[in-house]
């Protein structure tokens, strides 16, 4: 019998929902489960309702799914809001001090912190979280020792006493769950021979950036982009990275351009509204041919929209943002491993083609924890494409060239002067109003895309290559679509996924080839207008048969996609 369980841990902000989810998910991952953890939170510091979902299985997971098997409720609201999602085998573990009303027909387990650790409220709060973790492991008959080690790792910094409360509480919960144990027995799952990673999209991109030789990052905080900035800042000292918090997004991108002009590998990022502020300088990076990677982490708009939710609504925006025909590349990873590889690649492409490279992520991609193997994070190459040799004496920053790429020097390597200008300019970098030069220089800049598009591909396929039905998607929708395809195949409906992660300059040839032979094309996107659909039509003339769109701020689930296909399959 395959194992596939969904845990939902819910409470008010400030109750420690996130604090317990990570150790729990990690303990389960170390034990050998494939774990996938999704965060759902509101834009507030305390109160409100937030929950995390942890799905665990004995096989690789690509997506979260609907339904709840184990509801861990730290407050009443969690029970009230989620009890209807409980599966027939479902069970509730709850904080008896907070939860008073339970559905009558669902087995439940009460955790009472007061009986365990009398005294300070703080102790009780910590205790109930750890106790819930212990109870979950007891229920699943997973050894407790790895969890106790993680509690030591997590709370060691707070002193031996805090660790001891947590260890006591987890042990008590583990014992208490004994009565119900066996309901979800998973004794047959053993730790993998090689350790796996539990990592979210933004953490993986931070690793890709650092492995790719990042030297400078600056940004202004904005959800959901901030988690990437934080993940790099946390490691900055170890990896010799300059991290500067900018006064606004306009400063962030201009500062990153300055650092890159001076030769540092530079990255900045933001989310929707912040990118609105960056667009003028996006053109500045393009016209001055300054390499730059910009991460745009999407959330639902327009304007402030739903700040802590997810969407893929900024593709059209980043494709065309900034005035004039302004060259850029646009990438959109689908998994943490892709995020790792594409971030390193983006740094290389930015340097090689001397233009801004935008990486689109979203809240779901950034915050969702995936289980990966270390082999999925291979060593990356660093290609700075800098000219640092002896001075030619006649250096021109924007020398005309067949591929549009001019030799790039930076200040500090001898007498060659590096003159960069936002005005239209002559090859030596000085402003000009010579209209013939304008055409020649503009052609030179745009010609770089012809070389870059030759390198573009980024197509991931899954399912039956000969299937009549093809589901097309991009960015973070990969997982849910891949699982939808697997489920269709399980129901004897051959289907195929074509996922795009390299979106601009659009790899029209490879995409058209990948879609060839399909009888029915369905575009699956997390936005209201079908933005990749427009792009596909524009670049290849291909017209899809059906669109499955979602823009309520919650991530795709395989079930949602399958419902969207009903009537077609």
């Amino acid at each position: 019998m395959p194992v596939d369980l969904n845990l939902l841990i819910g409470g008010a902000a400030g109750q420690g929902v996130h604090a317990i989810t990570l150790p729990l998910a990690k303990a389960l991952m170390r034990q050998g489960y494939w774990v996938l953890g999704v965060q759902d939170y509101q834009s507030r510091i305390r109160g409100g309702h937030l929950f995390n979902k942890v799905r665990l299985a004995d096989r690789r997971l690509f997506s979260s799914r609907e339904g709840v098997d184990l509801l861990i409720a730290l407050n009443q609201e969690t029970v009230t809001l989620h009890q209807q999602e409980l599966s027939p085998q479902g069970l509730i573990i709850y904080d008896a001090a907070e939860v008073k009303e339970l559905p009558g027909d669902v087995p439940s387990l009460a955790l009472s912190p007061k009986n365990l650790l009398p005294g300070a409220a703080e102790k009780a709060e910590i205790a109930v979280n750890a106790r819930a973790c212990g109870a979950v492991l007891g229920l699943l008959r997973v050894p407790l020792a790895p969890m106790l080690a993680l509690l030591q790792e997590t709370f060691g910094g707070k002193g031996a006493e805090v660790v001891e409360w947590n260890v006591q509480a987890a042990t008590k919960g583990y014992e208490q769950a004994g009565a119900l144990a066996g309901r979800f027995s998973m004794e047959q799952i053993t730790p993998p021979p090689e350790p796996r990673l539990l990592i979210n999209g933004h953490e993986a991109m931070a690793l890709g950036a650092l492995a790719g030789g990042l030297q400078f990052i600056c940004g202004y905080p904005m959800t959901p982009w901030t988690s990437l900035l934080n993940a790099i800042a946390l490691r900055a000292e170890r990896y010799n990275v300059v991290v500067e918090q900018a006064e606004d997004e306009i400063a962030a991108i201009n500062m990153a351009i300055g650092a890159s002009y001076a030769g540092a590998r530079a990255l900045t990022g933001t989310s929707g509204g912040g990118f609105c502020l960056m667009t003028e300088a996006l053109g500045l990076a393009a016209v001055t041919e300054t390499p730059l990677v910009i991460v745009v982490s999407m959330r639902p708009g327009p304007s402030t929209g739903l700040p802590t939710r997810t969407e893929q609504g900024d593709l059209s925006f980043v494709l065309y943002a900034s005035q004039g025909d302004s060259p850029r590349a646009v990438l959109a990873p689908g998994t943490p491993a892709q995020g790792f590889a594409l971030t390193a690649k983006a740094l290389n492409w930015a340097d090689r083609y001397q233009l801004p490279v935008i990486i689109l992520t979203d809240q779901y991609f950034g915050d969702t924890q995936f289980t990966h193997t270390p082999g999925e994070f291979p060593e990356v190459q660093v290609d700075r494409a800098l000219t640092t040799g002896p001075s030619s004496g006649t250096y021109e920053r924007y020398a005309y060239s067949a591929d549009g790429v001019s030799p790039r020097r930076v200040p500090g390597f001898g007498p060659d002067l590096v003159v960069a200008d936002s005005d239209e300019h002559t090859p030596d970098g000085h402003l000009t109003e010579d209209l013939a030069v304008r055409v020649k220089m503009h052609d030179k800049r745009l010609r770089k895309l012809k070389g870059l598009v030759q390198e573009m591909g980024g197509i991931t396929t899954a399912g039956d290559p000969d299937a009549a039905l093809t589901l097309i998607c991009w960015g973070s929708s990969l997982g849910p679509v891949q699982e939808a395809v697997a489920r269709l195949e399980g129901e004897k409906t051959p289907a195929r996924m074509v996922h795009l992660s390299e979106l601009w300059p659009f790899p029209a040839g490879p995409v058209a080839a990948a879609l060839k032979g399909s009888k029915k094309l369905v575009m699956i996107e997390m936005n209201a207008s079908g933005q990749l659909n427009h792009l596909l039509r524009q670049e290849t003339g291909i017209k899809v048969d059906h669109l499955v769109l979602k823009y309520d701020g919650a991530p795709f689930t395989p079930e949602y996609i399958l419902r969207g296909l009903s009537g077609m399959v």
């Binding site: 170390r30 350790p195 990673l197 539990l198 990592i199 953490e203 690793l207 650092l210 492995a211 030789g213 030297q215 400078f216 600056c218 490691r235 000292e237 170890r238 990896y239 010799n240 300059v242 500067e244 900018a246 006064e247 606004d248 306009i250 400063a251 962030a252 201009n254 500062m255 351009i257 300055g258 650092a259 890159s260 002009y261 001076a262 030769g263 540092a264 590998r265 530079a266 003028e280 300088a281 500045l284 001055t288 270390p374 060593e379 990356v380 660093v382 800098l386 930076v410 200040p411 500090g412 001898g414 007498p415 002067l417 590096v418 003159v419 960069a420 200008d421 936002s422 970098g429 000085h430």
Partner: protein, 284 residues
């Protein structure tokens, strides 16, 4: 002493008689006296007549967009602390469009020089009020007169303990040349505002207007640029008399020192640590 011909750039497109000519010449002379080679200097500019300044020089140049000289210059310094950086902006560019960056720069104390060419008007767009246009002055966009007072940028800088604050004038080029030298050699953020007559669009603040008012503050009794309260009073002085010279000096640690990654010199010369196994270990 290096010859000023070394810094000869493109032929200028400024109006004949523009105050900028005096600034350009004094700047070149200051560079020559300081023996700063073109390859050791970056001039960052934005948009406006002042922002053409680096094109008329010979040095590393980054002519960016309106209002953003300071973030670009800051980014450069945080990547290469060996490069001498001078940001050149106008009153509209720096005090208007890029105001937030000035506030941040005053706090950061990056080791760069900000020169604000203050002609008290928007010249490139032909004569609208700038943040420093005097109250009541009639312009193309404010035919009834500017309804509010000008920004006292130097007083703002003193109030935030800017590490070096000074004012020069196109009407006193020898004095200006010395101020350039002091600002460029100052360790930390130096704000040098230069009174620069616009002969085409500002018929009020003319050469004569500035000549009648600007006086060398260091020659006046009680000169005390290390004294914050004295400096604040001098920075607020504007009208019948306008002090020029070093107004405030307040040495403090520079931002570059706060970034350990810069201790080993320019980032471009460093070999990044890229230990993948160590990176992955956090997630097992």
């Amino acid at each position: 002493m290096l010859p000023i011909e070394l810094y000869e750039g493109l032929e200028s497109a400024w109006c004949p008689g523009c105050g900028n000519f005096a600034l350009l010449k004094a700047f070149k002379q200051a560079l020559g006296e300081l023996e700063i080679r073109p390859q050791d200097l970056l001039v960052v500019s934005g948009i406006g007549q002042s922002s053409k300044f680096p094109h008329y020089l010979k040095c590393h140049t980054f002519n960016g967009i309106h209002g953003r000289t300071l973030p670009v210059g800051t980014g450069v310094r945080l990547a290469n602390p060996e490069l001498k950086v001078v940001c050149v902006a106008g009153d509209g560019d720096c005090y208007g469009e890029g105001g937030n960056h000035l506030l941040a720069a005053l706090r950061r104390n990056v080791d760069l020089t900000l020169v604000v060419h203050n002609n008290q008007i928007y010249a490139l767009t032909k004569g609208q009020a700038s943040p420093t246009t005097d109250q009541g002055q009639k312009t193309t966009l404010q035919p009834q007169g500017v309804p509010y007072p000008p920004l006292a940028a130097l007083a703002l800088a003193v109030s935030q303990n800017c590490s070096w604050v000074g004012r020069g004038s196109a009407t006193d080029p020898g004095h200006l040349q010395d101020l350039y030298k002091q600002a460029i050699t100052h360790r930390g953020f130096a704000l040098l505002e230069v009174l620069q007559p616009c002969v085409s669009f500002n018929r009020v603040n003319t050469y004569q207007w500035y000549r009648e008012r600007a006086y060398r503050v260091e020659e006046s009794p009680g000169y005390d640029p290390e004294n914050e309260l004295w400096a604040y009073q001098k920075a607020k002085e504007w009208g019948e008399s306008i002090p020029i010279g070093v107004i405030y000096r307040h040495p403090r640690p520079i931002l570059e020192e706060a970034h350990p990654a810069l201790a080993a010199g320019p980032l471009v010369r460093q070999q990044p640590k890229r230990d993948l196994n160590q990176l992955l270990a956090d997630f097992f």
